[in-house]
């Protein structure tokens, strides 16, 4: 066994950086080894065509743990927000858009009943997501042990649910596992509102409105806070890359070193314990502990090798569902796009195309059979409305999460498929912004296959593995790995594939750091 005190963190995604910062803060010798030229992973700002920068994957910040921002002093390390309180505009082809914030819904043809129901729906979802948020800052309990820590944390979960009160507890247990379609149909009349809200449960996942687990995913999405507001949406100034730049700075100021352009080829073993990593170039770096920010399958199969694990856990890891269905469409525009019926003051909000639940379900249906949606759903931001650093003056960037674009597209994502899907997206966009095609100077489409290649995420999956109840909490990524520590001596996981899951939140990174420290 090596006597190295060094902790190597494989991958400088935001979770790897958070983990590095916390470990360095505790005086550990930490080295982050990142494959890409810049840190950040899927939370990164890149120039996608000369003069135009965009948040390549993640574009909205809503999950970042407030405790982490504070404890690591992200503002002192340069994190600023272009906006912290984006509203959502549900686009309607006839221009009768509807707008909602964390507290109210207005516009469109929304009924008085819906206006009254919306805040109630929102408060209840927030209350429920609070139960999750409490779980997110701690290691999930292991099941079936008689260990005091496990029993306590299981008891705390039960208590948190009990403390919701009788009616809410019942409602929580009723809806937590079910689908968005049913609960939205119960609460609202407006098709447009229901369609838009359903996306909270769909984005990043392999689900449609009628798929179970949608409510759980929506609760996950609402579990964060920005500026003290639960479920608020923020745009970091300079794009998502500024979040990870601030994290990198925090890690470095605490003494961590960061190496970029250094892909790790393998995790080195001495007996049953890690002893370092080997880079693709052949260079070896000693380490007593290796923490991986790469997804569980990349970490355990590609870098470690399944042979260093027992077969049961290997089977579980190989069965993790992690086939991405979200693509990213980034457009460089020569001017501000015009959406029918949308005032210039609203152009900078979060715009969604999901006109009704059936539309979303249809979009999803294709993906079940290895096809991309003919009429995709979209979550659009135009960050240049608030942030002039991203594009030449007067010009704009449109950043859109587009679904469903299945990783395992029948026939593969060849040029023809990419063009066909891009055309579908433009056709749909054109229904809302008729002149937009003429404004496009450059198009970047990132399918899950591109995301897998460029960000080294298996399946290009948003969460490094579906975030569903069977792959959540103490089952995430799989039983036996949920406490960040793997069965391999000195090897830990810290990425989105671990509890509590994906999104730019940092909780997995911080919890993993705590697990490393408590394992010493």
């Amino acid at each position: 066994m090596t006597d190295s005190k060094r902790i190597v963190i494989v991958g400088g995604g935001h979770n790897g950086l958070v983990c590095a910062a916390y470990l360095a803060k505790k005086g550990r010798e930490v080295m982050v080894v990142e494959a890409a030229e810049q840190v950040g992973g899927a939370a990164v700002t890149r120039e996608f065509t000369p003069g135009f920068k965009v948040s390549s994957c993640a574009h909205l910040l809503y999950l970042m743990d407030a405790g982490i921002s504070r404890e690591l002093g992200l503002e002192t390390h340069g994190l600023r927000f272009a906006r912290q309180d984006l509203a959502t505009v549900a686009l309607a082809a006839d221009g009768k858009h509807l707008t909602y914030t964390t507290t109210a819904v207005s516009g469109g043809d929304v009924s008085a009943d819906d206006r009254a129901a919306y805040p109630k729906y929102r408060r209840r979802m927030e209350k429920f997501s609070d139960v999750l948020a409490k779980l997110y800052t701690r290691e999930p309990p292991r099941l079936g042990t008689h260990n005091r820590k496990d029993l306590m944390s299981a008891a705390r979960l039960a208590l948190d649910i009990r403390l919701l009160g009788r009616d809410d507890m019942r409602e929580f247990l009723r809806i937590a596992g079910i689908n968005m379609f049913d609960i939205l149909e119960e609460q609202f009349d407006s098709a447009l509102l229901k369609g838009a809200l359903s996306l909270d449960g769909m984005l990043g996942g392999s689900l449609g409105p009628r798929s179970n687990n949608g409510v759980f995913a929506a609760l996950h999405r609402l579990s964060g806070q920005v500026g003290g507001t639960r479920g608020a949406l923020a745009l970091p100034a300079g794009g998502m890359g500024s979040v990870t730049a601030a994290l990198a700075q925090a890690a470095q100021m605490n003494g961590a070193t960061i190496r970029t352009s250094s892909p790790v080829a393998s995790i080195l073993m001495d007996g049953d314990h890690v002893c370092g990593v080997e880079l693709e170039g052949g260079e070896k770096i000693d380490a007593g502990i290796v923490v991986s920010n790469a997804d569980p399958r990349t970490t355990l199969f590609d870098l470690l090798g399944a042979r260093h694990l027992e077969a049961g856990i290997v089977r579980r890891v190989s069965n993790i569902r992690m086939s991405g269905k979200a693509a990213k469409l980034n457009l460089a525009l020569n001017g501000a796009p015009e959406f029918t019926g949308l005032g210039a003051d609203q152009l900078g909000e979060r715009l969604v195309i999901a006109p009704d639940l059936v539309y979303v379900e249809h979009a999803f249906n294709h993906s079940k059979y290895g096809e991309h949606s003919v009429e995709p759903v979209m979550e659009i931001t135009i960050p240049t409305v608030h942030d002039t650093t991203l594009a030449p003056s007067g010009q704009h960037v449109l950043s859109a999460v587009v679904q469903y674009a299945p990783y395992d597209l029948k026939g593969g994502w060849d040029e023809a498929a990419r063009t066909a899907f891009t055309n579908q997206c433009m056709e749909v966009l054109g229904r809302y912004a008729p002149k937009i095609r003429e404004q496009v100077m450059h198009t970047e489409l990132m399918t899950p296959v591109d995301i897998e290649r460029e960000f080294r995420i298996t399946g290009g999956h948003w969460h490094h593995g579906e975030l569903t109840l069977d792959q959540a909490l103490m089952l995430r990524p799989v039983p036996g790995l949920a406490q960040y520590k793997t069965p391999v001596g000195g090897l830990y996981l810290c990425g989105a594939g671990s509890h509590p899951g994906g999104g730019v939140m940092g909780a997995a990174g911080r919890n993993a750091a705590a697990a490393v420290l408590s394992g010493e």
């Binding site: 073993m269 027992e310 290997v314 089977r315």
Partner: protein, 396 residues
Amino acid sequence: MRSRGHFRKNVYPSPFHSRLEPLNKLKEWGRWHDYLSADTYICDSKEYFAVRNTCAVFDLTPMEKTRVTGPDAFAYLDRLLTRSVEKVKPGRVGYCVWCDDNGRLLDDGTLFHLHEGDYRLCSLHPQLDWMLTSAIGFDVDIRVETHEVAALAFQGPTSCAVLRKMGLDDIENLKPFGIKHYAFAGTELMVSRTGYSGDLGYELWIDPSAAEDLWDRLFEAGELHGIMPFGGNALDLVRIEAGLLLCGKDFLPADGTVRPERTRSPFELGLDWLVDLSKPCFNGRQALLEEKKNGSRYNFVKLDIDGNKPANDSFIMLQNKTTVGHVTSAMWSPSAKANIAFASLEAPYGQVGEEFLAEIYYQRELKWTRVLAPCRVIDHNFFEPPRRRMTPAPDF
């Protein structure tokens, strides 16, 4: 045989069937996976005594045989099995067990290292699912060859003499757990000095097309050496005397067992010698390390029981009648002249020399009687003649 429609036939005659059939005086067949297999050919005790006093043949063809080849064959098996596979050199056979991630036995078997990097794993039950699961991440080829290899267990004191008479050169110098290959009827006959009887004995492996030839030559050579077939019942008796476990009787395969307390680890079956915890990774290692640290739940023991009433299914009790375990296999051993049994006892009971009571029920002329027979834990096999290990193997 593994063709479409295989399921319609449901059960198959073994390649030796034409020879077994006339010898099966009772005309009763059971099944062992895909094959007809006889528990008794004529009389269990007659067959038993043939194994012990002359020689007898058991049709081993239904045994699950899985071939493991490819660049990672060794590494794969070393991760699959709890023992060190390094120690099973080419041309050698090793007894082995394998576990799930909880360190509980899935099955036991014999690993044949046929040629460098070319292995055959034999087991009572099909293991393909677990073997394929275990293959993720290894460059190995795993192929079930149960139906491509006809096999006989040929056991008993005169077995070596018969094989010599058959013309198998130098067979007497084959060491226990060794393998030899012979040209035979235009194909290859593989002979291993292995078996389930605890006595001198061999196993013969051949292409099914030459199976009948092999049988005929063997019976011709063995005629004056008391050769006869033996069935599953006699086999069960000799293996108990030899101290060998039977999956399904002495332990349950963990993947088919609902209640976790009914499964057993190798330590709980007295198989510590088959577990090499110094290997960096094998299925079950983490759990077995924990068990080593925290202690096992059960001890597996051999019992010498007073009296002559077989202790089948008996409870094992302390002197104060508290039940601490039960018998898994039992018999009156004619060879050892002892009443013997295997039992699973709650830890820490089961130290060598410890005395218990076996609660035995038996019936005589329709009248049931219960005895509490004193018994004690012993550490040797009930039957272990020196010729089992002697090389050159003696003639009888």
